[in-house]
Structure formats: C-alpha cells, structure tokens
C-alpha cells in the first residue's frame, strides 16, 4: 500500500507543495466517502474547518502543524464529546483535555474525529460498541470483516487513509491486534511512558496509550509527541524521551532476537507460523543472532489477565452511577433503584459481564483464591521476561492467532473471543513495549502482523527492529 506518510506530508507542507487546507480537505473528502465503515463516533466537518482556520492564522512553528489525527473515543477532549462507546456516557462533554490530546493540540495537529471502539475498550472486534460495529476497510464487498479491537476505529481510520495517525489504548492487545487486522503499524509503549490522565480507565495497572500509523517512521514521530512525564498520573514515568525518529537505525548486526518456544501454539494457522519463520530468516540475514528462549508461564497469561482486568474494571466503572455525569435511568424511585437501573440500562452485555466477574473475584472469601493468585502468577510472567531479556535485545512473535475474521463471528463464546489476545497479553502483564507491523498475507490476501517486544523503556530498540523488518519487506 503506497499511502502518503506523515514524514513526507510534513515535508510537503514545509515546502508549500500543499497547504494545510488542501491537505485536510482531501482527508475530509475521504472521511465522508467512507461513512459506511462507521469509523467515527463523532465527526464534524465544521469542527475540522474551524481548526484549519485557527492554524492558518497561527505563525508559530509546530511539529505536527496541520496533520490530521484521529482520536480514540476514550480520550477526553474539550472540543468533542467523549463516549467510551457506551450509552452511559452518550452525552458526556468533558470539561478538560486529556494529557495526550493536549500534547497533540500543542504540536498543531488537527483532530479529524473520535473513533469507534469496544465499549470501555472491552473487546477484540469493535463489536461491543453502543454505536455499532466498525467495518474493516480491507473487507471485500458483502463480506464485512472485523477491524479487531478494542481500538478498531483508530486502526480502520489509518488503514482507510482517513488520517495520518491515530491514538489508541492497549490494555491486553487493543492497539497491536487491530493494527495486525487492518494492516497498519500500532505501538503500545512501556507502561508509564504516556500519561493516562484524561483517558477513561479500564484496568489501570495495564492501560497504556499508543499510536497507529501508516509506517514505523511515522509511529516513531508520533510516539515522541505523546510521551512524557505528567504529575497527574501517579504511574507516569520520569524518563528521558529520546528522539526516536532521529535515532532510527535499521542496522541490527550483532543484536540478539529471542524466539519464545511457548508462542508456537497448537491450532495456529500455518500462514502465521510461516510469516514468523520468514521474519526470523530476514533478521538472521541482517546479522541478528537467533536465540531460542523460554517464557514458561505464557499459557497462564490469559487466565491471569481475565481475573486482573475485570477486577480493576469493576472498581474503575463504579464511578458511572448516574449522579455525576452521563446517562441516568428514568426509573428512579429510590437511590439504589437509580444506581441499579442506570447501570443496567447504560452498560452493554460485555461490560456487565466483566463488572460481574470482577466483583466476584474481589468479593470476600474469593479475593485470595482469584485476585491475589492472579497477581502472583503475573509476577512469574514478568520474571520470565526479565530473565529472557538477559539473553536477548528484543523478542519477535506473531501479533494475533488469525487474520481479520468476519464481523460477529466470535460473539457468542467469551473465551473464544479472549483467545485473540493470546500473543499480546503476556507483554501487557509485564508492562513491556510492543509494536505490530504488517508482515505478509494469508491465503485470502489479508494482512498478518509481526509483534516485536522490547525491554522497559527501550522503545528505540523496538522501533529499530521494526523499521529494519519493514524495510526488508517493502
């Protein structure tokens, strides 16, 4: 796919080959032509035109001046409503700006709209949204495919070239898996690199914001723009943010890649094993040492995640009570009735399921058996990675166990849906940075993704390996 890149567009804007207005009108046109994909929960042409006007009257130099960016509708924005794809926040207009969207505004980017997602980011197909499914832009006619999830709208926005980059959040794979399904680049940085201030919380010990883009270079530019310390997020890390883009280096000679044997899972399609082998071969040719590693607790990552994430969600989502903001039920004979009806009518099925399971595993008598146990296994999973990274510089795996599946295919069986995250969840539990890049196609010509994981705060190494693989594939 030869799509315009952010890097090239910045050059074109700089040399006046194209104006901010021309560029964005081009994008507006495509957004309107692609309304059937249901990428945006909120889109207003007027709002975009206003942003163009403002920037045209602004003479200061800004790094992303005029660049159209799509924002996952989990980030609070003052200029647009924020719904988290839930009925319970249907009419919510934030009075403050999230840290990350503020940074993007400060750099002069233009917000195209707010993208669709699974309700409160709980899902893997963008099919739990109160505002309907997003359709994967790579679908063939009459065969709609899921864009993955939860950040499916943002992945689809980049894939359909409705923006030059998009924000996402990743709790167990919600950036990397949709990036893989839509054939775009998606990076989830180290837990703590980007502030969670102003992002509707799902599972706070796992949630991390990141970026979708057309290519690795663009991702390196955008991640730098949204990273950085923020005192309003107590888990925000005080680390120096390198200039990822300037430092990009595709020479991997002498590096060591770890290949975890536990990621060869029975039932994984041949094509996925094949692209994994291809990627390893490419790296070998580039002088990378191949090291077979073991992450022995990998198989326990999913059940661990599906205790910890719902537990934290049940606590985080207690705030939606019909008092402070959002939807309130009409049936409110008493205070308790108001809470119970508001939450019954305001939350969708998957969100309720997770609140219920989370409440159960945290309830008296079960806390130790489930939640505490899961936190202990999480420690073992994190230790596996720490040990492995003593022997290698980065790890390469497939991103997802399949290519994009038909819309609604896996809806009835929650566990089958959860298995989508089998390759992405372990790194989330360990807080590690991970990127998915398109690498190869399946027999139906749908893109497949390769995942590269790095050490804590070693995004540079992740980008370097990614750009190297990307350049060899193009």
């Amino acid at each position: 796919m030869s799509k315009s890149s952010l890097k090239q567009t910045l050059k074109d804007l700089d040399t006046k080959k194209i104006s901010i207005r021309e560029l964005n009108q081009d994008y507006l046109k495509r957004v309107k032509e692609n309304e059937n994909l249901n990428v945006f929960i909120h889109f207003s042409e007027e709002n975009v035109l206003k942003q163009i006007d403002n920037l045209e009257n602004d003479n200061s130099a800004k790094k992303l001046k005029g660049i159209p960016i799509a924002i996952k509708d989990l980030f609070c924005t003052k200029s647009m409503p924020t719904t988290a794809a839930s009925k319970i926040l249907e009419n919510f207009n934030p009075t403050y700006e999230s840290f990350i969207t503020q940074k993007l505004l400060d750099e002069g980017s233009i917000f195209v709209g707010k993208t669709n997602l699974d309700e409160f980011a709980m899902g893997s197909a963008t099919n739990t949204s109160f505002f309907g499914n997003t359709i994967n832009p790579l679908s063939k006619e009459n065969e709609p495919l899921a864009p993955g999830g939860s950040s499916g709208g943002s992945a689809a926005a980049v894939a359909a070239d409705l923006c030059l980059g998009a924000t996402g959040t990743d709790t167990g794979g919600s950036i990397r898996q949709p990036a893989s399904f839509c054939g775009v680049v998606g990076i989830k940085p180290t837990y703590g690199l980007c502030s969670r201030w102003g992002i509707a919380a799902f599972a706070s010990s796992l949630d991390q914001a990141g970026i979708f883009s057309h290519n690795v270079e663009d991702a390196s530019i955008l991640l730098q723009s949204i990273a950085g310390f923020d005192q309003r997020d107590s888990t925000s890390a005080k680390v120096d943010i390198p200039n990822y883009f300037e430092n990009l280096d595709d020479d991997l000679n002498g590096k060591t890649v770890g290949i975890p044997k536990e990621y060869s899972i029975d039932g994984t399609p041949m094509e996925i094993s094949q692209i994994w082998e291809d990627a390893i071969k490419v790296l070998e040719k580039k002088g990378v040492k191949i090291k077979n590693i073991s992450l022995p607790h990998t198989k326990y990552a999913l059940p661990t995640y599906y205790i910890i994430a719902p537990a934290e969600a049940s606590s985080n989502l207690a705030r939606y009570d019909g008092v402070k903001y959002g939807f309130r039920s009409e049936e409110i004979d008493s205070l308790d009735e108001m809470y119970e009806n508001t939450r019954a009518q305001g939350f969708g099925r998957e969100v309720k399921r997770r609140i219920l399971i989370g409440t159960y595993v945290l309830s008296a008598g079960y806390y130790d058996a489930y939640y505490l146990k899961a936190q202990k296994v999480r420690k073992l999973i994190a230790d596996d990675f720490n040990k492995a990274f003593k022997e290698c510089d980065f790890i390469v795996t497939p991103t997802a166990p399949s290519a994009a599946f038909p819309l609604n295919e896996k809806q009835n069986d929650p566990i089958k849906m959860y298995l989508n995250d089998v390759f992405t969840v372990p790194a989330s539990l360990a807080g590690l940075p991970g990127i998915s890049i398109p690498f190869g196609k399946d027999k139906n010509n749908l893109p497949l993704g390769i995942q590269i994981l790095g050490k804590h705060f070693d995004e540079q190494q992740v980008f370097n390996a990614a750009v190297s693989l990307e350049r060899s594939y193009e």
Partner: protein, 95 residues
Amino acid sequence: MKIDKNTINKIARLSRIKLDDKESEDYIKDLNSILDWVEQLNEVNTENVEPLSNISSSILPKREDISNDTNSSEEILENAPDKLEGFFAVPKVVE
C-alpha cells in the same frame, strides 16, 4: 458450579446492576465457564511469590506542596444529569 442463582444475585447487587431472569441465566453460564477456565492457575506453584500490583519500574515521585485550583464546581456539575443549587441532585434518601 461456582455461581448459582443466589451468587449471581449477590454479585449483581454488589455491582449495583439490575438483572432480569434471562440475563441472570446467561451470566450464570458465562461466569461459570470463565471461572472454570481460570481454574488452571491453580497448577502454578506461587508459594513465596510476591503479588505484582504495580508493574511500573519508576519510583513514585512526590509533587511540590503547592495548592492549585483545576476545577470549578460549575465545571464539575456541567455534565450532571440533575443538579440543584450547586450540588448533585439524587432521589430522596430519607423520608
């Protein structure tokens, strides 16, 4: 079966989510199958393992002890479904 009708009612009550009978039935089935599935964690020996609650490798920084006003009550109340004289309004609690 770990979750029966009584348990689901109890959890739903704790979660402040009203469930109808059909939903209760569905969630009993879902929750039991999820709990059976996570049962495999019992295979893992976690004796003497510290629970991991915060993965962040950074040390919690202290902020300067300076007061600041980031929200006005007007802003805080702006999205309230019901408000009265500068407060959130809810159904009557005491008769």
